[in-house]
């Protein structure tokens, strides 16, 4: 090579902007150029000993194999490396790393032998970083939910992201190259020119709400943000459009508007008055209903105006209650009156709550007032009726008691205490203390009646005796209403108690009188009957007229005897002294004996015992015979034209039914129940066709029922005869009365 050539190459080597480093085939550094020194910021003197084949950094970064490959004779493009220059030369403000591209190639002599290795570096940091930035931006643009579209100043689309594909339905390839009018509805088309002209002035348009059109024709409410796009020289070349779908936002806004309107409607139409005040109670708002109650307009109510609506008599209590609820932080609840200027009074139930901000500080009060005038009138009526009831109870000396069963709590009115001869101050009211006041003979009966009624088996109405602490015996009657829970368990007994000692004494007197009178009557009757018999013997069929008269006397004496006996029985029934003397006997024998004793009293009738049921019963023979006699004498009496009377016995399971059938006058349907009532014949003049007090069936009914049986009648009506039945259980052995 000529020296000029060498100089030439040397100059090129020194001046080239490409960092160049020359190595021996062993990797020793031979020389570097100025560009190298500039890139690495190290003077050549510091790298003289650098051997590329021993560079640890190249091993660590995986570049070394490529280096070795070059040293074997290939021209190699080394991988781009991220190079961290030596700390000693790092200058503040310069990137701490560089991206380097490098080429390593051999230089051979004429024989082809490698004489030198050349390493040329190119700093590509800027390219790499620009590339990274671009891809990052692209990723952001692609992944954005918003539609991002760029266009030139002729409104021709030149980019179209995924968000735009989703929102408008056009694929990027469909949209790019098209005019923006692709997505602008016809009636909005003028907007684009406006936008472009503003963009050209360098303006940025933000939150421009308008309508755009999707591929499927759907109109989409959007919020647009448009900014100019400038080239490297800052010249505006186009615009970037960001479009955000605001249809959901619009729906939400629409809903809010609707709910506001609903609230307004509710407020104005609500049947309650609504008011809003500030923290000092100055009125800020009242609704239409409030205005009606107060008889004033909204404007009149504002501030302190509302106070005029308060009834003068109630102002003090309202203010006091209000102050108290404000001080204590309670909700306000009070009943008071409003009065209109015209004088119309409305009873109100007012309540209000404190309104608080996010820091829980009270900002004002929101309240309602409800018209309770009708309730007040009803309450007044109830009070008046309670007062009347109280007066009535007082007049009747009736005590009322209430027993809460699950809680075991018993309450008595003053009268109940008086009746029991105790004083609320000295008497602890418990069920047990009450039961200790009951007469020992009646205690079991009372407790049994209570438990029976609590079990839902019978209504509660009893009469019993109590002994007051002073030792007085008193009769009381008590009846109660029992309420049950959904499981059928008794939960409350509400009762009334009345003292009936005087009544009982009168009853006893009456009964004693009846008992004594009938007893006293029997002695002369016995005497009369014996004398009749003596006279009959004396006459012995002679003196026909006298004999006839005697028989009439005899019949009437028998009737008198029956009546005295019935009266005595009734008095026994009423005082509960009709006792049964039960024994075991044959029902058939009883019937046969009774029929035999009755048959002689009638010649017109024939009494027949049908069916041969052999039944042994445990009953009061005398009393049952009395029932059969009564039924037979009735059958005779009410079948004046004679004929048969059939007595039959039917046994069904453990029940026996005795029937007495006659072919007489019968009984109308509506009278069939009544004939068992006491003194029915006496009380119903229409039926007073036959002699008698009407006690027989009443007594029979009592006797049968005391035996646990039933008595009833069946008749097809007037003239069709009647059948009287009574039933008894056959298994009531050892029954205690």
């Amino acid at each position: 090579m000529a020296p000029d050539d060498i100089l030439l190459f040397r100059t090129i080597f020194e001046q080239t902007p490409i960092s160049t480093q020359i190595f021996t085939p062993d990797g020793e550094t031979v020389m570097v150029n100025a560009a190298w020194e500039k890139l690495w910021k190290v003077p050549f003197s510091k790298v003289r000993s650098y051997n590329i084949l021993k560079d640890k950094q190249l091993v660590d970064t995986g570049v070394m194999p490529h280096v070795k490959k070059a040293f074997k004779g290939e021209s190699v493009q080394l991988p781009v490396i991220k190079y961290v220059p030596s700390k000693t030369v790092t200058v503040k403000g310069i990137a701490t790393y560089r991206w380097l591209g490098a080429k390593l190639y051999p230089i051979r002599d004429a024989s082809g032998k490698i004489t030198h290795m050349v390493l040329q570096h190119e700093d590509i940091t800027q390219q790499v970083e620009a590339e990274e930035m671009k891809s990052r931006l692209a990723a952001i643009v692609e992944s954005s939910d918003d539609a991002i579209v760029s266009k030139n100043l002729s409104s021709i689309i030149n980019s179209w992201n995924k968000g735009a594909e989703r929102l408008f339905g056009y694929k990027a390839q469909e949209a790019i190259g098209k005019h923006m009018s692709l997505i602008i509805p016809k009636d909005h088309i003028s907007e684009e020119d406006e936008i472009i002209s503003r963009i050209k002035k360098g303006e940025t348009i933000t939150h421009f709400e308008t309508i755009r059109k999707a591929k499927n024709g759907r109109l989409i409410p959007v919020s647009l943000s448009i900014s100019p796009v400038k080239d490297a020289e800052g010249k505006i070349i186009g615009a970037a459009n960001i479009a955000r779908d605001i249809s959901e936002q619009q729906i939400a806004e629409e809903r809010l508007r609707e709910s506001e309107s609903l609230f307004r409607t509710l407020t104005s139409h609500a049947p309650v008055g609504i008011f809003l005040t500030d923290i000092d109670g100055k009125c800020l708002f009242v609704n239409k209903t409030w205005c009606e109650f107060a008889g004033m307009k909204l404007e009149q109510a504002l501030g302190d105006g509302w106070v005029k609506a308060l009834h003068p008599e109630d102002q003090e209590i309202v203010f006091t209650a209000w102050r108290e609820s404000v001080q204590k932080g309670h909700d306000f609840n009070l009943e008071y009156r409003y009065i209109t200027p015209a004088g119309k009074v409305t009873w109100l139930s007012g309540s209000s709550v404190a309104l608080r901000d996010q820091k829980k500080r009270v900002t004002g009060y929101l309240g309602t007032i409800t018209d309770i005038t009708y309730q007040k009138i009803a309450e007044e009526k109830i009070r008046a009726s309670e007062e009347r009831l109280r007066i009535a109870l007082e007049a009747g000396k009736i005590g009322v008691w209430d027993w809460n069963i699950p809680e075991g709590k018993l309450t008595w009115t003053e009268n109940v205490y008086k009746i029991h001869g105790v004083h609320p101050k000295h008497f602890t009211l418990t069920f047990e203390n009450f039961s200790n006041l009951i007469h020992p003979d009646d205690k079991d009966y009372v407790l049994r009646a209570i438990s029976y009624s609590l079990a839902g088996k019978a209504p509660f109405k009893i009469e019993f005796r109590i002994i007051t602490p002073k030792g007085d015996e008193r009769w009381v009657t008590t009846s109660a209403f029992i309420s049950f829970d959904e499981k059928g368990k008794a939960k409350r007994m509400l009762g009334a108690t009345q003292e009936i000692t005087e009544q009982k004494r009168l009853e006893q007197d009456k009964s004693d009188f009846l008992s004594m009178a009938s007893h006293e009557l029997r002695t002369p009757l016995t005497s009369v009957k014996i004398f009749i018999d003596l006279l009959r013997d004396q006459l012995n069929g002679t003196e026909k007229k006298s004999s006839y008269y005697l028989e009439r006397i005899s019949d009437q004496t028998d009737r008198l005897a029956e009546l005295t006996s019935d009266l005595l029985d009734v008095s026994r029934i009423e005082t509960g002294k009709l006792k049964l003397n039960r024994e075991q006997f044959s029902l058939r024998t009883l019937l046969t004996d009774t029929i035999e004793s009755i048959q002689p009293s009638t010649k017109a009738h024939s009494i027949v015992l049908q069916q041969d049921a052999r039944v042994s019963i445990y009953a009061d023979k005398y009393r049952l015979s009395q029932v059969v006699v009564n039924l037979l004498t009735n059958a005779i009496k009410y079948s004046p034209k004679g004929k048969k009377i059939i007595v039959s016995v039917n046994r069904v399971n453990n029940e026996v039914v005795v029937a007495v059938r006659d072919y007489g006058i019968g009984i109308k349907q509506d009278k069939q129940e009544k004939i068992f009532e006491k003194l029915y014949q006496v009380n119903d003049p229409e039926e007073k066709t036959y002699p008698g007090l009407g006690l027989g069936l009443y007594i029979s009914k009592e006797i049968v029922e005391r035996h646990g049986g039933k008595i009833w009648v069946e008749s097809k009506g007037k003239g069709k005869g009647s059948t009287f039945y009574f039933s008894l259980t056959t298994s009531n052995h050892k029954h205690n009365d």
């Binding site: 005497s527 014996i530 018999d533 003596l534 003397n581």
Partner: protein, 119 residues
């Protein structure tokens, strides 16, 4: 031999017709109107049957009956108790009486019962 009947009742209006009735029927009749005199009379009269009222003023018929029935000398004498209270029939039984008859009764009624014991 004529049978003897003793009637014990504090009421003359019963004693009289019964006395006449049994006399008519051929019995030898005696009576006591004061209950406490009964035992004395029984001892003296030695009746074949006694008709005894239960509820008398003074001594109660039930006590008289029990006393007589517990006395070996008299316990063989049939006693028929009578009362205007049919419910005391069971008292007659418990007082060891032989029969009971409720007032009012007819001549036939009482004769039937009496003839069950003596004839």
């Amino acid at each position: 031999m004529i049978k003897k009947i003793l009637i014990v009742d504090d009421d003359d209006d019963i004693v009289e017709p019964l006395g006449i009735l049994f006399a008519e029927k051929g019995y030898n009749v005696s009576f006591v109107t004061k209950g406490e005199m009964t035992e004395k009379k029984v001892k003296k009269f030695q009746p074949d049957l006694i008709l005894l009222d239960i509820l008398m003023s003074g001594t109660d018929g039930r006590i008289i009956c029990q006393k007589l029935k517990k006395n070996k000398a008299y316990q063989h004498i049939p006693i028929i108790m009578m009362s205007a209270h049919p419910t005391v029939a069971k008292d007659a039984k418990s007082s060891l009486a032989d029969a009971f008859i409720a007032k009012p009764f007819s001549a036939r009624d009482v004769l039937v019962v009496v003839e069950q014991f003596i004839s």
